[in-house]
Each structure stands twice: as structure tokens, then as C-alpha cells.
Symmetry: D2
Subunit: 312 residues, 4 copies
């Protein structure tokens, strides 16, 4: 994730600006503010702005005139209660804004979450950077034989080299031709004055889906946590999960009490279906339960065994 000198200078200038405010302020998040957290080979996540803190959740739940906070233990208890019982509106009272650089195919998965505000860098008006995602060798996975949506073993040797070569060559060639069709260089300066350039809104269609784009993404804490519960999950595609993991770090710095409650009641929690619950009741009563007599199908039984940390 190499920044240009100008980008690094702009970030440093933003960090150096200091003003006084009466708004809730979180020193641990101020320390991260504007800094790019590297993700994948050229991507990043940066916190650009935030509103609220743990106390703002408490304040909203109590609709109070002042900060609304009481003893720390009482506030934590309230936040944990709200998380546990899925009272979502107090968490909506905190807001965060990110600047994210990410491959287009990741952006397409991400944008399916509709409850956020987005401003994407426009390839209709502007020229995209010559940057595309190439998986690190340990992430170049084969299709899973078991699971249509999963990954299997990692490709190795010639096979890996061949695939990586195809990805690199196709992305490079497509980008080169993009620039050639535009008849502009990467900074938008005209090249050959003797011929017209293809409209930017058309030329972009030649780029491959691993090309990086960037956007501003603003979301409230409730919807952010919902996004993270899906995308920081082990079933999420690796290339979006690493973004979710970087964002989890920012949540931890921002609202540590809500973060801990989220780990306990959401990320680390397990939902048991009515049938699973029946099986667990029998087990907890000392009965030996098998898949055959549990009423669960094989996949659900495997999930239950995993939840109970038993071998299926």
C-alpha cells in the first residue's frame, strides 16, 4: 500500500490539525485517525471521522440531557443488556466514516449491505490507478470439492505460478489498453494529440475485476456490527474478511465496551434451532444423543457438534 508523497503529506496535515470541541472524543481512536491500515496488497482502511462513543449509547438509551452516564459498571451492564436483547437503536446513535481502497470484486460484495452511505471514486469522470489485487501464494486456493462456496487446498508449484501469471498478465494488458484507449496517461494528461480518446465511461469496461477502486463508507455502529458479524465470519471470503478484521480493530479502539459485548453476544455466540435445542437439553440431562435419533440432518448435526466443540 504505497502512498504517493502527496497523499502522505495530506494525511500528515490532517492529523496535525487540532481543534477544541465539546463533542464526545475518544483518544484511542484519535490516535488512529486518518492513518491507513494496510489490507491485501494495495488496499487500506482509514477512519476519517466518527461521532459518539460508549457513553453516547448509554445517553441515547436513557434519552438524557447530559452525558447520561453513571458508574462505569452500570453503563457496561446497560450496553451488554442492549446488545444481548438486540435493542439496536441506541447503537445507531454512533457513526463512523471510513476511506477504503479495495478490489472491485470485493466492492461488489460489500455494497450488498445497503444501510450505509457511500461515495465511490468515479471511473466515469476519473482515471483509476494502475493497481490490481494478486493473491499472495498462501491464498491461491483451489475450489473446494465439498462445498460450492468454499476453498480447498492451496495451489502450489507450476500450477500456482501459471495461475498467478494469467492474473497478472490479463490485468496488466487490460489496464495498458485502458490507458491506450483513453489516450491519456494515469494522471489524466493527454498523450497522442493526433487522435481522440475513448470516453472514460466506456474505457473503464476493459478493466478486470481485481482492479482497485476506493470509496468513502459511512455507517452507524449497529449496521457496522451487523456487517462485521457477516464479514468477519469464518465463512466470508478471505478477501473481504481481512477488511472486516481491520475494521474490528477500529471498533475496539472506539467503543471498547460495545466491542466486548459484540464478541460475547454476537461473534462468539451460537444460535441453536428448535431441534438443536431439544438435542442439547437431552445431552445436558445426561442422555447420549446420536445424529440418527436427534432429528437433525447431517449438516446441522455437524454444526451442533462444532458448536459443542465435539467431533462429529
Amino acid at each position: 500500500m504505497p502512498l504517493t508523497e502527496q497523499q502522505a503529506a495530506e494525511i500528515a496535515a490532517a492529523r496535525a490539525e487540532r481543534a477544541e470541541t465539546s463533542r464526545p472524543t475518544v483518544p484511542a481512536l484519535e490516535a488512529l485517525l486518518f492513518q491507513p491500515l494496510p489490507v491485501l496488497d494495495h488496499g487500506f482502511v482509514r477512519v476519517i471521522d466518527y461521532m459518539g462513543d460508549d457513553a453516547a449509547i448509554v445517553q441515547a438509551a436513557r434519552v438524557s440531557y447530559g452525558r447520561g452516564t453513571r458508574r462505569v459498571s452500570e453503563d457496561a451492564g446497560l450496553i451488554r443488556y442492549l446488545m444481548r436483547h438486540r435493542h439496536s437503536t441506541p447503537f445507531e446513535m454512533c457513526e463512523i466514516k471510513y476511506h477504503v481502497k479495495l478490489p472491485i470484486f470485493v466492492a461488489r460484495q460489500w455494497i450488498r449491505h445497503r444501510t450505509a452511505n457511500v461515495n465511490e471514486y468515479s471511473a466515469r469522470y476519473s482515471i483509476l490507478d494502475r493497481e490490481f489485487y494478486l493473491p499472495a501464494p498462501e491464498h491461491l486456493a483451489a475450489q473446494s470439492a465439498m462445498n460450492r462456496q468454499g476453498r480447498g487446498a492451496v495451489l502450489t508449484g507450476d500450477e500456482a505460478a501459471h495461475v498467478l501469471g494469467l492474473l497478472r498478465d490479463d490485468a496488466t494488458r487490460s489496464y495498458d489498453h485502458y490507458i491506450e484507449m483513453l489516450n491519456e496517461d494515469e494522471q489524466g494528461a493527454p498523450r497522442d494529440p493526433g487522435r481522440p480518446g475513448l470516453a472514460r465511461e466506456l474505457a473503464r469496461m476493459n478493466l478486470t475485476l481485481n482492479t482497485y477502486t476506493q470509496w468513502y463508507w459511512k455507517v452507524d455502529l449497529h449496521n457496522l456490527l451487523h456487517f462485521l458479524s457477516l464479514r468477519a465470519d469464518a465463512h466470508a471470503q478471505y478477501e473481504i474478511r481481512v477488511y472486516a478484521e481491520a475494521m474490528l480493530e477500529t471498533v475496539k479502539a472506539w467503543v471498547p465496551i460495545a466491542y466486548k459485548a459484540f464478541l460475547d453476544y454476537r461473534l462468539g455466540a451460537v444460535t441453536l434451532s428448535a431441534q438443536m435445542l431439544t438435542a442439547v437439553r437431552r445431552m445436558a440431562a445426561g442422555e447420549v444423543v446420536t445424529q440418527a435419533d436427534s432429528g437433525l440432518n447431517r449438516r446441522e448435526w455437524a454444526e451442533l457438534m462444532a458448536a459443542l466443540a465435539r467431533s462429529a
Copy 2:
């Protein structure tokens, strides 16, 4: 809008807290922060928190690494361009949070705007204050004879006194009985130990719709301006319009360039239908146009004449 001593002290304490931040900060809005702006007889609007400023709109539109601003005139030009062409997403990058005290019948109209986050003071758990809206004499309007949704002349004399008396007596009696059924006082202290109190979630149903409630309301700038374009409009009911007007003042302090663009391109603008446009073209070409030959119905013709500042 009399605050209790404790409320006033909490507000003063919140205002006195100062911290350093690198986030965009707006001194003119900091000056208003937490202060209740009085609305109606017992209501208020207070800004509790905010995110972003005029420059944040520019920054989002340019998806920049730093503040993204250039010369002031260029930034203003961009903001005005975005407003004029209804590019809404950059305005969504600013967020504001209000604490509002308002009559329930106003809250019911307000909540129809679904694109905001809300935490309302819960009469299921808590006891509402003994406060209800009574119109000032100059707002005690008769039903319009012309317009099912409008107000006519103001009631006066005995008629006005009679209506005001009914409103006051019914609200007072309903509130008294609410407290009696709860068997708690307004601070939630038990009263007669010899009998049970009705469940709060039931007792509240006895209150009249002019009883005051309160909520935290958080919204992005785009959706706030949409709300204000409808509710600061002359056709909006007076009792919600005064809230919109108070909020307009906070927008003016917060994002003065966007505010001016909003006045020019939204609040002060007029939309001409295809038929109106045809009539205006003829007029601008020097032709005399009448309702009869304009193709407009009477109501639309009146609207056009109003837009052109002519008498219909």
C-alpha cells in the same frame, strides 16, 4: 421550556467539557452545542453531536486523502453544483444528532420520515412529564373552508376561550388519571402502598396526543435537507414547521455554503410541469397566455401565477 435545575446543570457540564480533536470542527455550531432552542410552549431542539462540515462534502465528492478542499470559491462552486444536480451522496457524508422535545401528534407526523435513527423516551418503562401543548391564541385556527388540509381564520373571543379550555381541561384530567392509575408520582415514587399500580405500558394510553414526548434523532445532511424542504414549507402544519425552522438555524451555523445552496436550489426553487413550461415559454416570447388557453387546470394556473409573482 423550563428546564429543571438538574437538566440545566447537566447541559452546562456538557458544554464545559473540552477536548482536542483532529476531526473537522465548526466553531459556530460548537457555540450552539447542547443548548435548547425553544419551540412551541414546552418543546425544544438541541444539537447533541455532529460529524463533518462544508469541506467534508467536498472531500467526499473528490474521494480525497486529505481535506480535499481547494480555493473557497471552487469548493462553493462544487457544493452548489452538487445541490443543483441532486447529487445526494456527498451530502450524506455529514451527520447531525438532535435531542427534541415535541408533542406526540407532531412526533407522529415527523416519524413518517424513515431515513433517520431514533431513540424515543419510552412511556413503556418511564413516566412522561406533565407537559402538553396548548396553542397560543394566534395559532388557534379554524378549519379552512377551501382546503381540507388548511387552516382558516383564527378563532377569537368566547369561541377561542372555550376551545382552549377544553384542550387544557382534557389534557390535565387525562394526565391526572394517568398518575392515579400508575399509583406513582411524576418522579416514579410510589404513592398509595395499599393498591397496585396499572402497568406503565397500559396507563400511557390515557394520555392525550398533545402530551410532550422527547427523542434523540440522528440524520445525515441529505435526508435532513429533504425533511426540511417538506417541513419548513408553507404547506406544512405550523406545529412542525417551527421545529424545521429552528433546525434550519442549526444548518446555517453548521454548513453555511450548503445552506445557501439549499435556499437557492431547493427551498426557493419552483418546479414547472411540462404544461407550465410551455406556458412560460410562450410568455417569455411575449405572448399573452390565459388559463383557458394554457392547458392548465385552475389550481395549477394559480400555482404558476404565484410562482411568477403575478395575480391569478
Copy 3:
């Protein structure tokens, strides 16, 4: 829920209209179409229109050209898989529209769910009916002593009669004065020609919160199920839960496979926190676990015991 003759005739006429369509059609729901299902003393829920069926969920998940269905068992398996793994978008492809008559205080709780389309009968333009909710004796509950949001024992004898009298008298008097201030009768016919009527948008503020209102409410299946998971829950206030229960019946007629999956994986499911899971693993391994050594607080321990159908 007495309908006027005209209303009953309108409903009968709508039911009698028959047309051919190639759209997915559900006979079991057609049988319910337009019929009011009575709720509380004057309320109802009516299905007005619907889009899609169980097969439409399958079709959307497969993005197919035709109906996309295969063997019934395969389709049911897919729907259950989608429900279990919270793939919400295929369920969003079904839509239903209700006409609901409900007390205003219930409407205020209901409207907090923002992901639906609503058209409410407007008391700004129209006159509300003389109908208000009075709890049946068995629902006139005292405030719970344990739980700020709960109900305790039912009021009886003089106490019950007294409370019911207050509710009835205050609602009746407020409505009478509403009509008097309007100077119109309930059908909107003018009364005393010698005096002006108060504007409808003002007079409504005199009504009590148990007055009935009505609205059209349109929602997709995913958001409907989310609403029902919260409002058909034992912790929901009785007066909204009965609406949720009536709507559950319509869901059962409409999409029986999704309905069954919803019961198994949502309504009948239990979420165990990370700490609860640890305790359950120990129990399932045959260990005796107590609250003291479980790491759970008393309330969470009680919830776990309830989930396991044990006494705490």
C-alpha cells in the same frame, strides 16, 4: 370489530372480483384475501395484496428464467438452508400488503420498524372514528414489581372497575370534545352553522392514545419475519403481540415452507452467548455447572436454564 354495511359490501365486492393471471398465486391466501381478522376490541388485520410464494424464494436464490423449482424436498431444503444461514435477500422477493386497524399507542410502537411502506389514515384531513381500546378484564395488568417493562398480576374487583371507568370516561369525553371543537359530526357533516370549527389538524390533539387509527402497511417477507420475531415474542407488549399472531396465520397460509423454517430457526431458536456456550459444553460433557462457577450473571443464568428447560 363491527364493520359498517358499506365496508362489508366493499369487502365482499373485492372478494368477488376474479381475474386470470400468470403470476404465482396461493389459493390458501386467496381464501383469506380482504377478510378482516379481528384483533383486540375494535382492531383487525386484512391481507390486501401479495406478491410471490415459497417458489419465488427459490427462484430468486437461483436467479432462474422460469419458476426455478425442482423437487419439493429440494426446494424445502434450500429454503431452510437460506433461513438457517440468514441469507435474507431471497425472502425479500416476496411482498405482502395489509390493512390494519389499531390503537394509536400500538401504532407508535409498530412504526419504529422503518423498513416498510405505510399509508396512515390522516387525522389532518379526515375525522377519526369513535373507537378506542379498552383492555379486557384479563389484560388489565398491574406494573411488574420485578421488571420495569413487564406486567404483574391482573387488577381485580373495585380497582379494575375504577381503572376501566377512568379509561372509558376520559376517552369518551376527549372524543366528544374533539367532535364539538370540529363542529362536524363523525361523517364530516357540519353541525352548528353559527360558529367556525377548529382545524382538524389541531382538534386531533385532544384525542387519547387508545383511539383507533388505521393504515396500509406493505413489507417484504424478510422484514415481516424480523418484525414478527420481535413482536410475536413473549416479551412484546400484549397489545401488539396479538397483531403479530394474526399476521403469523397469514404467513402460514402464504408461504408454508418458509413459515415452518421460521418457527424452527428463528421463533423457536435460542442464541447462546460465548459464556453460555462454554457452560453448555461443560454440561454436555457431563459436568455439573452452577451459576457461581458458570461466569454468567444471575439473569443470564436464568435465561440459560429456561432455554434448557431446567429450573434455575
Copy 4:
């Protein structure tokens, strides 16, 4: 837009299915149901399902028990009134569901409208078809010299042939390598058993942005009209505008009265800013107004002249 035989058969089967319903039914839209309307070289729009009609708008606005309609002229008057005064909620009571096949770069623009339900064909689980968009010669436009977002003259001769060749070759090669990396054919049958295939969720990143994808897209009439007002506009990119135009045809068949009101009050309407309005008032009063003394900048003046059908 060549359908496979199986797809054509599935569509024919869906069209042949007929059932009786009491729901509002629109014969003109039934005639279009399921039929693909061709768009671009391989794309289409198909109406899959719909809910409501013109009368349903009226019914919702009146919150009626039956169909709520009166004389045709009265209903049309109400619909036009609602459209003119931007009462959006009655239009939200109609819903439509499309199946759309479209290039990925168009899908990325489209998805920015967040108020719809979407199920996209998943390249994480499935294999995309070998289909990519190549502009017809008359749409192979150069970048506008005036306007960063616009198109200029059409490329011709060798220049056009060269660009088209690059687009075709890069898309073809990328797709060939996609299949090679997957080690599956286009129907998902394994190819070379001696080597593993790259995970589908990774291989897709090699595709170019003009590759076709497809989705189910469901939206209410209000949000559909908002989408169409932006995307059927002359400033929209050609490649999305043609989809909007095809959908306009379906709206015309579905809700002809709302469609006409939309043309008159939205698509064919013009919004005049406060400053433009001042200028128009002067013109309509017979005054000669120039850009210099209008207070409008050059671009706004040009827009005003265009609105008045005058040369700037």
C-alpha cells in the same frame, strides 16, 4: 439476446400457467409478463411479478376498505395531485419485480440506488456466461472535450476498429483464462482431471467489467420512478439509459395514469432556482434579460435558455 432452448421453454411454461386471483390484475402487463425485452447486445429486462395498479394508489391514499376508486376522472385527478405534490407513500404501495441481464459496469452504477431488493447471480458459486458488452459502432464515443462526464463525437474508421478490437480481444482472453483457471467448462463440468481448479470466488476477478451478470431487482413504484427520473435522463450514461427506457415501457403498460403524471410532472418538468425564477419573472413581464444582468453564471444561464427553448 439469444436465449437457450431451455430458457425459452421455461419462459413459455411460466406464461402458459394461468390461475384465478382476486388481486388487482393488469391485462396489459400480463401480456408482457416474463417476456425478455432486449437491451444492448446481450442484455434484457423481464417483468417477473407485480403488485397493484393505478387503483391501488388511489386505494392507499384513501385508506379504503374496498378498491377505493370513484369516477375515472376523479381517480386520475388524485393521482396527478399526489405526483405533483410529491406525496410519495401512495406510490410505494405498488411493487414490481424484474429479471435483468446487464454488463457489470452498468450493474455497479445501478446498485447505487439502495432502496430496492436485489438477488444477483453469484459468481462465487456459479460460472458466468461467455457474454460481454461491445458497443455498437454508433455508441463508440470519444471523451467530450467540454464535459468531464460526457461523450463527444463517435469514433470512426481505423480508430473505431482498433478500440473495438481491443475490447473484444481483452474480454475474450480474460474469459478464456477464467475457464482455464476454473478447470471447468461453461456448464460447470470438470475439464482436466489431472489438476485442481482455482476457487470460483477467486477466478472471477480475472473477468472484465463488460462481462454480463444478471439479477432479480424488486422495487416499489415510487422508488422505481425516482430511479427512472435519473436514469432515463439525457445526462445518464447511454448504457444504463436504455435499460431505463425499456422499464418505462413496462410502467406505461402497468399504471398508465401514474405514468402520464410522471411524464408531465417529473420527466418533462424543470426546476427553476430562486435566481432563475427572478429572471423568468422579468422576462414574463416583458423585460429583456441578459446573462450579465441575470445573476446567473454561464452554465445556469445556458440551462435556463434550454428550458425556455431559446438559444443561449
